[in-house]
Every structure is written in structure tokens, then in C-alpha cells.
Symmetry: C2
Subunit: 401 residues, 2 copies
């Protein structure tokens, strides 16, 4: 046995030594640490730094005044805290409050420059930014954690898009038991926000964990979940498309001018052809965040026979231009036609300080005036993933009952 | 149209402003840049830094003498280059050589502390370390790039491990056409090295790109590829198991004491049950790197009726202890029994400066002495992913002919 240990140690040494990928270049300091009293400590080693700060959504937000195109607005910016330098140049900050259960993102600012936590291997990519990740378990955040429950399969599959003229990538969740059952399943389509892609809900949104856990608790029906890529000009997420390691760009063309919605039925057709779905309106749902809420709205209104359940999460309502696509024309008539078919659920969620709250309230006023029913959840905070995860956990249990 | 642009811009601003995830906190400087002359420029902004260096496998290695347990050894360490400070505290280094096509990893060292490139969103996790990634296209590296060819599906699926007592995760590649065909497919099992997991070959190894491209070129048969997790005590990769965001540890228990190999048939059984496989030896292959080469060797010898093709990539040969498991006993008798059944291929690859080269040569001498046939490829360099990608591209075309 000693020989094995020695040789394994030698192997590891070999890896340290040889690995040009620095296989074992492990943590220098421990960060972040969830302390027994519920506070969290962040550490960053930088003996020559002058100032080290941490910022992230675990901190209370601060109001910042902004102006764009002559339009003034106020927004919630993430809080910032300074770390204090200790021995060996290790800077440290411990929250003076218990950090509530949640899936958080944070970064350090070292002399003003943003860096992720080099001692935390857990990182999320959101469009072109990386952030470090901290999961504080408990309460609703338990739905975001991985438990020893039956897990669905998560697949990256490619569908031929006649509209785009090339194959495009989808993320597809099939619930535990799908492969061994002969049953047909309902389908939920989940759409990302501007700049996101088919990975966003799976990484930042924790959607597959939410589904696994809700299904295991008996709080949601087993369902197939399809995460689309709403950037119709893009084959797949950055890193996963034929642009390879080209830097992702901020705003992609053709995201909000009708093409994605026009092409949406080809995705539904592909999914119904590939998977054992219940291929009818009663068993089909759609939801999305921000731009994905906008896409959800127009997919819902333009295809009133496709979706029985629709969820608009912090939806970018009121930004469509009818001149760019028939998809955005005859809004009121489409709205009437949609409700005439008695959909099972129109669900709306928005944060109190979301910059889109007024647009959502205007839309709900229109629904009220017309006497159309919907479900509304207003939460604290703004246009943030925390809210979108909450909305998903609230929306999914209502489906396919 | 102007309205749409304004509102999309406002949306983006809203995202910048509100997103506590800093959705659009884009690049501060451009790095890395592949220049027209084939050199590569790396940049890092740090006005207050004293010294900024870059290290990675794009640089020539340097010989370093080491000692462990009284045993002296020499190893290839990655080269290091200093960046020079320019305007706005932007440090810069341009290679004085053309960087050959390859999939590279690199990191910066800022005042001695390792950091990934904050301007490069492309990052690989290898066990507990993050590195920035650079793909220089061309030559063999074209096999590592994503092209507009038919793409296989890549799925994360869970199998019930009776041995482990819990569900465990596999990555499964099904080739383009699998879902629409009724055909049965051969299966290749691909095993990672020490500390790795079911993600390693897919991220660092570029295995799914290699398969897509070789199949599209007609240089490999369409096949199912299964990436196992060789740490039998672990459900899944870090982040994807019920330890959630617990820091990954270096050496996991039960990786090289026979349990994984003893339990391997339950994976084969699961795959043959779940997928349309050709469930016989002629259509089954296995390969692995380092510890995965070790696992490959013992799976091959202990189950001479399972695998017709075996690939040992920089295999950790000669480190087994017969006292810990029957899997490691009667080596020579098993070797004889294996060759008596006339396997189609035993393929061995190793780097000239790999610390395991002598162990591999000793093993091949034994094969030579016994008159057993194998295929051997010796490459430049050491125990590095560059070699393992090369070995996979050489091994896969030989399968199932």
C-alpha cells in the first residue's frame, strides 16, 4: 500500500511538475468561506496591492443615478466593500451580516481592476464576463443545489434551422425516468435574455437543479425542458460555435426584429420529432427572462395554438417596433385572439426596482382593462438572476396540472 | 427602427446598470491577439503592478530539477516571459516566434500571483485550477476547432452505480445521425487522468470536436463515445455533485485501488441498455490518459472479452499494487490470456520527456519479449494535454475498421 501511495504522490508531483496546465496549482488562501455564524469571509492575496474590494449580489445594492440619451434613470448597483490587508498580503473582508441562502456572483476589484477570485474554481460566464460563484444553501436556494435525487439528462443537441441556414444548438433537459419509460412528456421552452445563449439558464439560472428538485419533491410534473438560443444569427454559445474563440460581442443582430419568433415553430417541430412529447397546446409551455420574456410574449401571441402556459419574467415589454416585422403587428387583435382561446396561464413576474417595471404595469393595465386574467408576482430587487430563479421555481409547479 | 435601437440600447444600459452579475462588464484591453504574422500578443492592465509575467504551454518548456522522497528528477516546466508596461498601465508581451496551431492554456503572474486573463472569457477548469485558453487554428488544431459540420449530441447522463451506492454522471457523445437512424453503433470509452472527471476530455481534450471533425472527414466511423468519471467515490465533476460548491480536493479516494475497474462492467451494461450499441467486443474500444491509461490497461486485461481496441495514452503503468485488489493480480497470466484472444489493437502513446516514459518502455519490452504486437507513437514533450489530443486523433481513426 505504501508503494501505491508513494507512486500516486509521485504521479501527482509529476503532474504538478509537468502539467503545463498547472493541474494542481491549488488555492493559495481559502476564499470564500461560509462561517458557522452565517457570515461569509472573502480573501484575496495581493501583497503589492493598494486597494482590494469585493462586489457582488450578496451585498445590499446602492442607488446610482444614470443618464442615457438625455433620459435620466436610477438603478441599483451592486454594493462594494473594502478588504483589509493582513499577514502575507492576504486581504480579507467578512460580512457584518448573515448572508441569506442564495446563489451569488461576486468579483474582486484590485486597484480598480476587476478580477475573479483566484481561489474559487467555480465561475460563471455570462455573455463576455466571468464572475465567481458562491452558493449559500438553505430555504429556496436548496432548489438550486444538487441533491441525491434522480437527475434528468442534460444534452446539447443541434437542430437544422431553415431560417438561419445552419445547424443551431439547444440545451435539452429530459427528466429522470424519460429514457426508461415509454410515456410522452409535456414540454417547457425556456428563453434567455439579451446577449445570453442556450447555456445561460443552465449555469446562472440553475434550471436543471430546480427541475430535478421540484420533480423529486413531487411539486412539478416531469417535463422536457428546452433551452433555446435566441440569437438567431448565432449557431451556439461562444466557445461552442464555428467562430470558436472569437471574443463574444455584446448585441447580436436579429435578436429583436421578429426573425427568432418567426422561426420558433421550427424548434417546436424539431423537438416534437426528436423526443417523446405530448405534441399539443395543452402540454406546451414557454417562459423567458427580459428579452426572452419579450420573445415569450410574441411567440405566445403569434402562435395562439402552440402554448397553453406562458411566463414573462422581467419581460422587455413595449420595445417592439411593428415596422420591422409582422410578428409585432396587430398587437391588440392578437391579444384578443389569444385570450379567446382560453389559455391556462399567463404568468408575469417583475422586480419592484426593475427598470422594466413600468412597462410591465402598463401591460397589466391593458389586460385589466380588457378583463383578461393573469398571475402576477412582484419581488424585491431589480433585473437580476436572483429574481429569474425565483420566477422559474414559482412558474414550473403551475404547469401541466 | 430608431425606437427599437434606442430601447435595445436602454435595455443594455439597464443590464449594465442593474445586473449584479455585471452582464456587460466587457474587456478592458484586447488579449490575447493572434497577429497577422502568426505571433501572439498578451496584454494585462495593472497600473500598480511591479512585475507581470505570462506562462503557458505556447512557450518552450524549461528544464527544472526536482526532488521528491529523496528521488531526484528533472521535469519540463512551462516557460515564463515578462510583459512590459506601456500607457495606461497596460502590460504587453508579443511572442518573438510564430505560435504553432494548437489549443493552449496560459495564465498571468502579477507580482508573483497567478491570475487568469481577465480579458479572455474562455477558461478551462482542470481539477481545481482555472487557465485561460487560446486556440490557434490550422493543421492538426483544425480538428480541435468547431466547424460547420454535422455535430453529435453531448449529454450528461446519470447511471445507477451499485458499487458506489449512488447515481454517477457520464458524458455521452452520440454522433450526428444517431437519433434519426435506426442503426446500432460501436462504443469508445474514454478515461481521464488523476483528479479529472467526466468533463476533462470534453473541455481540455476537445474530444467532441475531434470526433465531429474526424467523422465529417470520413476518417473515423460514427461511434458513441462515453466519458466516464474514474473517481468512483465521486458522483460527478465538482459543481455537478451533491457536494455542490465545496472546493475540489486533489486526490480522491478509491481511484487506483481496483474499485473503479471492478465496477466498470456496470457502466458498459448501462450504456448497452440505454443506447443502440453493437454490444459485443468487436465494436467496443477503450482508451485513457495517465491514470485513465492505467484504468484502461486493467479494464482491458481483466475483461478480455469486453474490448477489442485499447489505447494507453501516457499511461501510469507500473504503479499498481497487487495487494490492494484482485484486479492487479496475476498480471502476466492476464496479459497472456488477453493476447490469446487476438485483440484488434493495443495502442500506446507517450511523450519523450514524460516522467512515465520509462515505465511505458519497460511494459513494451515485456510485450516484445513475449512477441505481442502493439502500435506505438512517441511524441515530443511530456505529460501534457497537447499529446493526449494528438493520441486521440491518431487512435480514433483506427477503430472499428
Amino acid at each position: 500500500m505504501k508503494r501505491v501511495i508513494t507512486i500516486i504522490a509521485a504521479l501527482c508531483i509529476g503532474l504538478v511538475a509537468n502539467a503545463q496546465q498547472a493541474l494542481w496549482g491549488g488555492p493559495q488562501v481559502e476564499s470564500p468561506v461560509i462561517n458557522a455564524d452565517g457570515t461569509v469571509t472573502f480573501r484575496y492575496q495581493a501583497p503589492k496591492a493598494v486597494k482590494v474590494e469585493v462586489t457582488g449580489d450578496f451585498l445590499p445594492t446602492q442607488k446610482i443615478a444614470g443618464e442615457f440619451n438625455g433620459q435620466k434613470f436610477e438603478y441599483d448597483a451592486p454594493g462594494v466593500r473594502e478588504l483589509k490587508e493582513g499577514p502575507r498580503g492576504v486581504w480579507e473582508y467578512t460580512t457584518d451580516f448573515v448572508v441569506a441562502p442564495e446563489f451569488y456572483n461576486y468579483t474582486f476589484r484590485v486597484d480598480g481592476l476587476s478580477v475573479i477570485d483566484p481561489n474559487n474554481v467555480f465561475v460563471n460566464r455570462d455573455v463576455a464576463s466571468l464572475t465567481s460563484v458562491l452558493l449559500v444553501p438553505g430555504e429556496r436556494a436548496d432548489l438550486y443545489a444538487i441533491h441525491r435525487v434522480p437527475h434528468g439528462s442534460v444534452s446539447k443537441v443541434w437542430y437544422p434551422s431553415a431560417t438561419a441556414g445552419f445547424d443551431r444548438r439547444l440545451t435539452v433537459y429530459t427528466p429522470a425516468g424519460y429514457e426508461t419509460s415509454k410515456a410522452k412528456y409535456p414540454v417547457l421552452y425556456v428563453l434567455h435574455g439579451i446577449g445570453g445563449d442556450e447555456d445561460a439558464w443552465v449555469t446562472q439560472g440553475r434550471a436543471c437543479q430546480i427541475l430535478d428538485n421540484l420533480i423529486a419533491r413531487g411539486e412539478a410534473k416531469p417535463m422536457i425542458v428546452v433551452f433555446t438560443n435566441g440569437n438567431i444569427s448565432q449557431e451556439a454559445a461562444p466557445l461552442e460555435n464555428s467562430m470558436n474563440y472569437t471574443r463574444p460581442t455584446m448585441q447580436l443582430p436579429q435578436t429583436m426584429e421578429g426573425t427568432f419568433e418567426t422561426a420558433f415553430p421550427e424548434i417546436v417541430k424539431f423537438i416534437d420529432g426528436r423526443y417523446r412529447t405530448i405534441a399539443k397546446k395543452q402540454s406546451r409551455a414557454i417562459c423567458g427572462l427580459s428579452m426572452g420574456g419579450f420573445h415569450t410574449l410574441y411567440n405566445t401571441l403569434n402562435y395562439p395554438d402552440l402554448f397553453n402556459y406562458s411566463g414573462m419574467f422581467s419581460a422587455a415589454i413595449g420595445v417592439s417596433d411593428p415596422s420591422v416585422s409582422p410578428i409585432y403587428q396587430n398587437f391588440d387583435a392578437k391579444l384578443d385572439a389569444y385570450f379567446a382561446k382560453k389559455p391556462a396561464l399567463l404568468w408575469i413576474g417583475c422586480g419592484k426596482t426593475d427598470f422594466l417595471i413600468q412597462a410591465n404595469r402598463d401591460f397589466m393595465k391593458k389586460l385589466d382593462d380588457k378583463g383578461y386574467k393573469y398571475t402576477y408576482l412582484e419581488t424585491e430587487g431589480g433585473h437580476i438572476w436572483k429574481n429569474w430563479r425565483i420566477y422559474l421555481t414559482e412558474f414550473v409547479p403551475l404547469l401541466f396540472k
